[in-house]
Amino acid sequence: MSVPQPARAIARLIAAMVVAAPVMTSAYLTLGTSANGRSVPTRWTSAIKYFVTNRSVDGVTAAQLQAVVTQSFGTWTAVPTATMSATFTGFTNAEPVRDDGVTVIGFQSHPELERTLGVTTFTLDRTTGALVEADIFLNSLFDWSTAVNGETNRFDVQSVITHELGHLLGLGHSLLGETEIRPTGGRRVLGKSSVMFPIAYAVGTTQDRVLFDDDKAALSVTYPTPQFLQNTGSVSGRVTLDGVGIFGAHVVAFNTKTQELVGGFSLNAKGEFTIDGLTPGIYVLRVEPLDDADVSSFFEGDAKVELGFKTTFHSKLVTVPSGGFGESVEIPVTRK
């Protein structure tokens, strides 16, 4: 969904978190846009000022929502290797998801989105990638809770808001998770290692309030402190099938000491990938097809994502040094 405004070269993007349905995943993807023929990251270039809708829903008052939003922003801004800030400006009667230049977070009813818990929309300057506005709505079609320990049969506002704020900050979805198909349709999360995994845990769960390594790396790559750039490293390489690069392969780096899991994708026809923000050390690399979710949740509809290969481990342990790249690797995969 986009509402282009040519005069300001502004575009609108959308990201959603769903319940029991395959949507975006990546480990991790940061959002970006193409400006003057080059790719630029989507990010805020100034402090975020946001409003919360002055609207209560069953079980959650506007004040409770505002408190949770503040808490969730605090979760993101507490990442020591990233530098950004957000300020609550006040309550508003304005709707989220309106291109009015004001960042608004609140509840809205969307019965047509029967599997969507929340949506983030962006207005950005296409020449710079700078975010101008971002709105979040939580779908009041569902039952919500702000209880400290969660509430049976209600979705946890803080978990979903933390996920949506990740989008608001410029992060895409993460594929660090495993799901299984439900007999009744949709997917059930077996486990995940990223708040930015697109599919929510079941009702009553509060696990998504806390960031994982993948989330912290994604945020820190987008808003890095100087120390982060010095103290972390990257791994890069190619994923090939029959000697030819493949697009959309999911690459996971696992630090055997810290058990840190961070991922990325091969993002061009050469099969090239880069995973930034890694703690220096020794890593195992694992490559898998994007088969746990809907491909269109990650990439444009015309992207030719290769899915027909077996999950594969790289035969070499790879090195990640501080402040740079180790040796580039090539990971050959075989057909299913």
Binding site: I282, E288, F313, P321
Partner: protein, 221 residues
């Protein structure tokens, strides 16, 4: 003070028993030897790549177990005799062990494998060598040393340091009593137990205790 006493006792015993053995070849004041070495590896334990379940439990994506292989390389010692049976020693060695991660139990059925990387391992030690009574041309000795180690990744982009300690002994065989400048004086064979900690972090546990052996040509200064 305690260490001085201990050295005296060892030296005294050695002197006392030497009367029963043959007169050893004259020990030069400074010995240098170079040769080949093998330093053992060991297991570092296991770690799993896990996701978090909705109840806060653990979901294993795959399992790994880490280890170091033995490494072969070169070694050199510089001994300076400070007493009839006692020498201080500086030594260095370079070996090429592999770090290994055995990967199993992938949730999506990926074939298990052992991912590896061959590293450079450098050690520099300082220690004491106590020689015992010679038997013909054979001279047994005991050796203890502590030092520094460095692991360097195969692509030379990452290094990390650690500490190392050796305790062992060996034999020297003198095949000539005098030798010219940098001519072989004899052979030295060592066996020791090495404890090392730190270096490249492959697992939560970084301490390894493993045997080491070396054989080297003794050169006389």
């Amino acid at each position: 003070m305690k260490s001085l006493v201990a050295v005296s006792v060892v030296a005294g015993l050695a002197v006392g028993t030497s009367a029963l053995a043959q007169t050893p070849p004259a020990q030069p004041r400074v010995l240098i030897d170079v040769g080949g070495t093998m330093l053992g590896g060991g297991s570092l334990g296991s770690s799993d790549a896990t996701y978090t379940t909705s109840t806060g439990g653990s979901f294993t994506l795959f399992s790994t177990s880490q280890s170091w292989s033995a490494g072969h390389g070169i070694i050199g010692h510089l001994e300076v005799r400070v007493a009839p049976r006692v020498a201080v020693e500086l030594s260095g060695d370079w070996t090429r062990p592999e770090i290994r991660s055995k990967i199993t139990s992938d949730f999506e059925g990926a074939a298990g494998t052992t991912a590896t990387q061959r590293l450079s391992q450098f050690r520099a030690n300082a220690g004491v060598v106590v020689s015992f009574a010679s038997h013909g041309r054979w001279t047994p000795f005991a050796r203890g040393a502590v030092g520094w180690l460095r692991h360097l990744s195969s692509d030379n982009t990452l290094y990390q340091d650690g500490v190392t300690a050796d305790l062992g002994g060996g034999l020297r065989y003198a095949w000539r009593e005098k030798a010219g400048h940098v001519k072989p004086y004899g052979l030295r064979a060592d066996i020791w137990l090495n404890a090392r900690s730190g270096g490249l972090d492959l697992a939560q546990k970084s301490r390894i205790i493993a045997p080491g052996v070396s054989v080297s040509f003794i050169l006389k200064l």
